[in-house]
Amino acid sequence: MRRPIWILLAGCLAVALAVEVTARLAFDRGSKIQRRMAEEYQTARTIGTGAPDGRTRVLFVGNSLLDEDVRFDRLHDAVAAHWDARRFVVEQTFYYDWYYALKRLFREGARPDVVVLMLSTRQWLRTETRGDYSAYYLMGTRDLPEAVRDLNLNATQAANLAFANVSKFWGARAEMRNFLIGHVMPDLGRLMAFSSTADTTPLVDDAVELDARERIARLNALVSGHGGRLLIVLPVLAEPRDGSAGFMRAAQAEHVSTLRPVPSGTFGLHLYRDAGFHLNPQGAAAFTEQLIPALRRAAAPDPDPAPQAVTPPSVGPAPASARDYGRGVS
């Protein structure tokens, strides 16, 4: 075979190795979001591993809704006397991301007394994950076959998931690309924010109740199997018919506490930073002040799993067909 072929193959291999090494050594340090995520992951995996200090160890997990709707510094300070509260946020994540992330965290030794998961009902019910990123950062290798079944992946997608699970470059390549393009076009984020829309199609409570129950039970079994308690927080969305009533009925049937500090549809649009999905700082402050007492009550030794709010009267457009959980921003 001619020499140039070998040089070309060696060059391509060198590029592949270089990006893998760069991803492993530099990426989590170079990107602000990755650095924050890596730090939170480290604190999450060590929760409950040290000597007990008498405080309840509470792990908050979720996506951008937890990041933006909850002022965690305020919450942390408010409960610090009784709780060792830690947070692990990964944007664009859904139920299955957290099911497998918690599985991996437990396996790595994390032992929180309480796990607080904050997702919208739609995010609970969508059968997807953050893809390659989750495969590397959130999933354990031994969970991949189960994840493939849960997510109904085809053979190509399954192979991709397995590859992303072992290659940090492959898992994080979208973020690396965004990082690079973001440097070439610093205002690109503005376009992305402009062109991303949350699915605000109303949800049908009965369908949500039916679909959510198995998932709540499964996550609850995972958490309680490792000595913890599951607590669910529902965000406040602008669309009142977010399926939360049905979701809370499902949670109640599974004896899982669900907090809805502020029912959806009750905050004015001026408290949101987008079209009714993520709160702005003012909205987050208001939401957090409602969340803190609700959390204190729910995390008390003898919790009342009953829903803590009722669904406001239905208004607005007709509900989507049952079980269509569509697309959404997280």
Binding site: P4, L8, C12
Partner: protein, 474 residues
């Protein structure tokens, strides 16, 4: 198995390594098994369909060639065509025709007519391998081709994995002899095959998938209600997306084939530098346009029976070509625009007594004016190709009459330029030098450097989407 995934890279590497260690007959068996694994990777049930049509055509062709009875030959040809087109119609067009029939009844006042709908999956690549099978059986019938002696050879000709899903549609006279004769390892062919694969990966994962982000946002309404800027962003983005996507696929297919010692026909030659629609179709999806010419346009009469018949034949060919792409009226309209455009072009050329152009100069202002007009006509047709319904297409195009501007549109245009301008410049470079891909004729070390640079660009700038190639669905 998509071409832009690690599993395909591993699959191709394994096949190539094993392949060149075997003798010719065993190579064919290995490739056939590998091709069926590749195809069955989507859904093993699809193998039954391709297997059945392969066996039927193989024996029909042999029976046609072995018979001197004209009537029997015609019957056998008809059986083969009916089965091939029947499979295609059942899997791809049945629901489309039934829906259209129901809509017609509805329009005539027959409400809620009971119309059957099949819940079936479209087997990937069925349009491509059906066309290849039709070409084979017709060529054998016409005596242009000897039928294959070996079922393995014929099955491999139909299913060879680099072209199986989305072409290039291979002519029997070109590919079958390559299957039937020993291939020799050619390091230059291997080297350029690797470069073609890298070039294809850039076109697909860097250019097409990034442009797709904008096209999807514009066509789905995420850039706001359609206006002139949104229509321009969406249409231009889709134009570069589909070009990058399909030419990228073709490059990877051709490159993969070259690693195995095969040669596939060129499928794209700088189509957006075309100076007329006729020129465009000599540069775009060449394997399809020449197939349509040889197996549809010419059998319909071509340009032999006068001008009016020629216009009709052009229009019919392009309408059917449009429908071949997908079971939706939007594809028919897409084909109709091209068919009408080709007919008008021919009419104008005849009225003004202008000869058909050859390759236009890159420095002529007139040629550039023609290029801009043709590009925009092609873009107009792409709107129908991309839209999910006729209504969506018209709503989108209605935005042309609305002027509005937001700063985000400027960012979108810059993002589009970031990915489309390099491809345009590469096309200019290739056109000027008469090359198929960048640095095709450069010294080896420059080609190696280009290849490594392409690998780095793919690694760092590929949009992270497990997007099927657009033509996979056809």
């Amino acid at each position: 198995m998509f071409f832009d995934t690690p599993i395909y890279a591993a699959f191709l590497a394994l096949v190539v390594l094993a392949y060149w260690r075997l003798g010719w007959r065993r190579q064919n068996v290995l490739l056939l098994v590998a091709s069926y694994v590749f195809y069955g990777w989507w859904d093993p049930r699809f193998l039954a369909l391709i297997g059945a049509s392969t066996i039927i055509d193989f024996y029909c062709a042999r029976a046609i060639a072995g018979s001197t009875d004209a009537r029997r030959r015609r019957v056998l040809l008809a059986i083969s065509l009916v089965i091939n087109i029947g499979f295609l119609a059942a899997f791809k067009y049945f629901n489309f025709f039934m829906d259209s029939f129901a809509a017609t009844l509805e329009a005539m006042g027959f409400h809620h007519a009971p119309v059957a709908v099949l819940q079936i999956l479209l087997p990937p690549g069925i349009s491509f391998y059906t066309f290849q099978e039709v070409a084979y059986i017709v060529d054998v019938y016409k005596g242009k081709l000897e039928p294959a002696d070996s079922l393995v050879d014929y099955a491999l000709f139909i299913s060879l994995f680099p072209h199986l899903i989305a072409g290039p549609i291979q002519r029997p006279s070109h590919l079958l002899p390559q299957v039937q004769n020993p291939r020799r390892f050619d390091s230059e062919r291997c080297f350029s095959g690797l470069l073609l694969i890298l070039s294809g990966l850039i076109r697909k994962t860097v250019i097409a998938d990034n442009c797709a982000l904008l096209a999807d946002a514009a066509f789905s309404g995420r850039l706001g209600t359609p206006n002139l800027a949104v229509v321009a962003i969406g249409t231009y983005a889709f134009a570069w997306q589909i070009y990058g996507d399909f030419s990228g696929y073709s490059d990877i297919a051709r490159g993969s084939a070259q690693l195995l010692g095969f040669h596939f026909m060129v499928n794209f030659r700088q189509p957006y530098l075309a100076t007329s629609l006729q020129d465009f179709w000599r540069r775009w999806h060449i394997s399809l346009s020449t197939w349509l010419r040889d197996y549809l346009y010419i059998p319909l009469g071509g340009s032999r029976d006068g001008e009016r018949r020629t216009y009709r034949n052009l229009l019919l060919t392009m309408l059917i070509g449009g429908l071949w792409h997908g079971a939706n009226w939007t594809f028919v309209v897409w084909g109709g625009i091209h068919g009408a455009g080709l007919s008008i072009e021919r009419f104008v050329r005849r009225v003004f007594g202008r000869a058909e152009e050859g390759s236009a100069s890159l420095t002529s202002a007139g040629a550039w004016a023609s290029r801009i007009v043709v590009f925009h006509l092609v873009c107009l047709a792409w709107v129908f190709f991309r839209a999910s319904s006729m209504r969506d297409a018209f709503v989108f195009l209605r935005g042309l009459g609305t002027l509005a501007w937001l700063p985000e549109y400027g960012i979108a245009f810059r993002f589009l330029a970031l990915f489309s301008v390099p491809l345009f410049l590469i096309d200019l470079f290739n056109e000027a030098r008469g090359e198929e891909y960048l640095f095709e004729t450069a010294p080896d070390m420059r080609r190696v450097a280009a290849g490594v640079a392409m690998m780095a660009v793919v690694a760092l700038l590929a949009a992270n989407q497990l997007n099927a190639f657009i033509y996979f669905r056809f």
